[in-house]
């Protein structure tokens, strides 16, 4: 069981963060859940720098939900950087975005995203999606853990 796997949500929209939290709750996903609002903060969190240096307070995530349209550093930049880090290249990254641009799709996979999900239009659909995420990623998929910094 991967209920202990920490989830990191990289998302700048307060509304979308709010809806994700509710959906995860509705889908009975009780994993530890953290949110960062931009690409730079995501990189700080993952490298354990700036305000995220205390790993007991900010554990390494097993799964990252990554929005693409972010301020400061774009989602794809974060993904690219992440895959270049020894200690981070195996973290599961699920892109969660409203973009269906073929370019974004191609680049996301090329840079090493594990999956690409579209933000659904309704709350009900988001809950269903999170239930599927739970069933697949947290109840079926096996993670490879490397202790992060």
């Amino acid at each position: 069981m991967n209920r202990s796997k920490t989830i990191l949500l990289v998302e700048d929209s307060q509304d979308d963060v709010f809806f994700m939290q509710r959906a995860l709750k509705e889908a009975s996903i009780t994993n530890p859940f953290f949110v960062v609002g931009n690409g730079q903060e995501a990189m700080d969190y993952l490298s354990g720098t700036a305000k995220f240096s205390d790993r007991s307070k900010y554990p390494m995530p097993g799964l990252i939900f990554l929005d693409l349209k972010l301020p400061l550093k774009r989602g794809l930049e974060v993904l690219s950087w992440l895959r270049e880090q020894e200690s981070l290249c195996n973290v599961v990254v699920v892109v969660l975005t409203s973009s269906q641009e073929p370019n974004d799709l191609r680049e996301a996979y090329r840079l090493g995203a594990n999956s690409y999900l579209l933000k659904p239009g309704s709350t009900a659909q988001l809950v269903e999606l999170m239930k599927v995420v739970k069933a697949y990623w947290f109840e079926s998929n096996l993670f490879f853990t490397v202790e992060g910094p």
Partner: protein, 389 residues
Amino acid sequence: MGDVLQDRLLVLMPTARDAQRTINALSGSRLACVACETLAELCSKIPTSAAALLTEEAIARDTQDHLGKALQEQPPWSDFPVIVLSHAGGAMQRRPTWNMTLVERPLRFETLRSVVETALRHRHHQYQIRDALLNLTRAQEELRAANRELEQRVEERTQRLRETIIELEAFSYTVSHDLRAPLRAIEGYAEALRNDYADRLDDQGRTFLSKISFSAERLDLMVKDVLAYSRIAKGEIELGPVNIANLIRHVVESYPLLGEAGAVTIREPLPRLLAHPAYLTQCVSNLLGNAVKFVAPGQKPKVTIWAEDEPPGTHARVWFEDNGIGIAPEHHKQIFEIFGRIHSTQKFEGTGIGLAIVRKAVERMGGTVGLTSELGNGTRFWLSLKKAV
């Protein structure tokens, strides 16, 4: 016959005195004459500054090579008259390419004058031809220049148009895309309100909430359809052979209403078409969706699909015939426009973009779309697409 250079008669005689005597003899008839002293002078005047030449047979014979060369270099319209005064018994060679009139001595003055006047009249006709040709050439050149300018302007306008279209399409894509985020928020918070506060609301409050959700959902559908339209309008397109019968069967599988026995009949064979599979799927899906939707209440929808060759043979026409409510002829054009729906959303749900998407997709695949229909008598939509060789 005035004083103009080109109307002058050139006179070339053995001596200056002969020339002067001849000129004097002709002076009464208002002819402009000029005596040439040298052959070179003569030849230089022939092209543009003389109407005819009056000379002696002996001189003509002696200078015939040089004279011949000068005459050969005439422009096409020019046939310079040469009047040669001969001696009785002279041996002037025939020069068939020259416009030569041989006048025998002894001659009457009237004879000479009439010959000269005739030569000058001929020359004048030649000048008229020359001027007409000049005007024609000038007119042609002006036409060519005007054409070039026109083509340039058309090219510029077309380029500006292309850029405008690209901007508009990018704009519509961006706008549609950016509209979905706040829409998600409206729907999400309405839903959260309903989930968390439903018990604290009365019936009317709950009704208001569901209307908010309904509108947000409807708007989201319209935005999704506009996005689909934009994507088809500006997206990459790669045509390949498609088995449309199989494609239709796949679409039918995803429509529960259509999947019912007998609802969709495909009259095979359907030809292999040159198409973009995703776009064609969208077209078929929209057409079948409409066929299922626009039926009289209580009526079970039925669609029959068949194909025929279109002359001259490059395209095939695929027909989608339904038993629905039909479309009045005055609406046949409007239904293909964005948001061009005829019925209110109370009667039939939908975004009003489905057929616009069909038309755009078909156009991008190099085909056309149309229909025949009357109110109350079902509708027959057709897609005309290139056949795959």
